[in-house]
């Protein structure tokens, strides 16, 4: 069986696939850590408003909340499509 696999060319080991997938999902989860519960909703609604005026993709919007000392900054990043 091993020989057969070798002859067919080494397949990608499933454990390394698992590692790659986990690194991506964990990084994503950590990005949302410590955010208030309303953030996903806020992100969704902001996207809807922007979409009324400009055609943007679901993942073209990035929102984050950073706290420094006594003030919080809500950062909104929207990648607008190229004007042709």
């Amino acid at each position: 069986m091993k020989l057969l696999e070798f002859l067919k060319g080494e397949r990608k080991k499933s454990a390394s696939v698992a590692k790659e997938r986990l690194q991506i999902i964990v990084a994503h989860q950590r990005g949302h850590r410590g955010q208030p519960d309303y953030m996903p909703m806020l992100e969704q609604e902001l996207l809807e408003v922007i979409r009324r005026y400009v055609k943007v993709d679901q993942d073209a919007i990035n929102i984050s909340l950073d706290s420094e000392d006594d003030c919080s900054v809500l950062e909104l990043n929207v990648t607008l499509p190229n004007r042709d």
């Binding site: 080991k13 454990a15 390394s16 698992a18 986990l22 950590r30 410590g34």
Partner: protein
């Protein structure tokens, strides 16, 4: 003042109760006055793993609701006089647990014991949050498997935001990784996440590595925590974990497939997969 340690994982079935029972027993065997609390209200199982299911009279919820005193509910372990078990309720719903009730119980236990081990229910709901809220340290039980690792990361998020230490801006909960059901043969085949990868992804300190072992089922069948089986690989791995928890520097075992000698290679048949 007792040290409060929560055994948690997010995902179910990864070995929380097995680990809580083994670690609490190990701490008691090493001379520490230890109590292990089952927080899984509605689905208690710690009593079965500890082999005291027929001696449960009162439980955690009875104590919180003032129907029984703490000393009436605590069950002394048959094998170690340093160890007590506080079982969960079988019948009540999980809302019977209150933050104030848990705080009062932990406060009284704290005066009497050196270690309080909280066996968390699965999930990230109320029961799990209460189990970890007052913790000083956390043991995050993880299997080398994608859903378990992801859920462990979620729990790490809760530990750093939804605990008393986090809310009071105190020194954060000390987080330890306990990898269970590890199979070095499958790791070598490339079909199981290896230990270094899990440590890298979760980025917390490793406290122990428990190999996949037949001894675990054998022990739970008998209601004897696996750490009592000191001939078994899992029993020894838990003993190492307890030593590390007590601050000792113990080398890691069971990470690799044991090298087979000439005799066993000639007569031992195929390797176990």
């Amino acid at each position: 003042m007792a040290k409060i340690i929560v055994v948690t994982s997010g995902k179910g079935g990864v070995g929380k109760t097995t680990s809580a029972a083994a670690i609490a027993t190990g701490l008691a065997l090493r001379g520490n006055k230890t109590v292990v609390i089952d927080f899984d209200v509605g689905l208690r199982n710690l009593d079965l793993i500890m082999g005291c299911e027929r001696r449960v009279v009162y439980d955690l919820v009875n104590v919180i609701q003032g129907e029984a005193g703490l000393n009436q509910a605590l069950i002394r372990d048959k094998r170690s006089e340093n160890l007590h078990i506080l079982p969960a309720s079988q019948t009540r719903d999980k809302d019977a647990l209150t933050l104030e009730g848990v705080e009062t119980i932990l406060g009284s236990l704290s005066e009497e014991f050196d270690y309080i081990i909280c066996d968390s229910p699965a999930g990230i709901e109320r029961g799990a949050q209460l189990a970890l809220y007052f913790a000083d340290e956390a043991i995050v039980v993880t299997n080398p498997e994608v859903s378990s690792v992801r859920d462990s990361d979620r729990i790490l998020g809760l530990l750093s935001s939804k605990s008393r230490r986090a809310e009071q801006n105190r020194e954060p909960i000390k987080e330890h990784l306990l990898v269970t059901r590890y199979n070095p043969n499958r790791v070598d085949d490339g079909d199981m996440l290896n230990l270094d990868d899990i440590c890298e992804i979760l980025a917390i300190n490793l406290i122990g590595l428990i190999p996949e072992s037949e001894a675990v089922l054998r022990s739970s069948n008998q209601g004897v925590p696996v750490i009592h089986d000191d001939k078994s690989d899992a029993g020894q791995a838990y003993a190492d974990t307890v030593s590390r928890l007590m601050g000792e520097d113990v080398p890691l075992r069971f990470q690799h497939v044991p090298k087979r000698g000439l005799i066993s290679r000639m007569f031992g048949g195929g390797g176990r997969r």
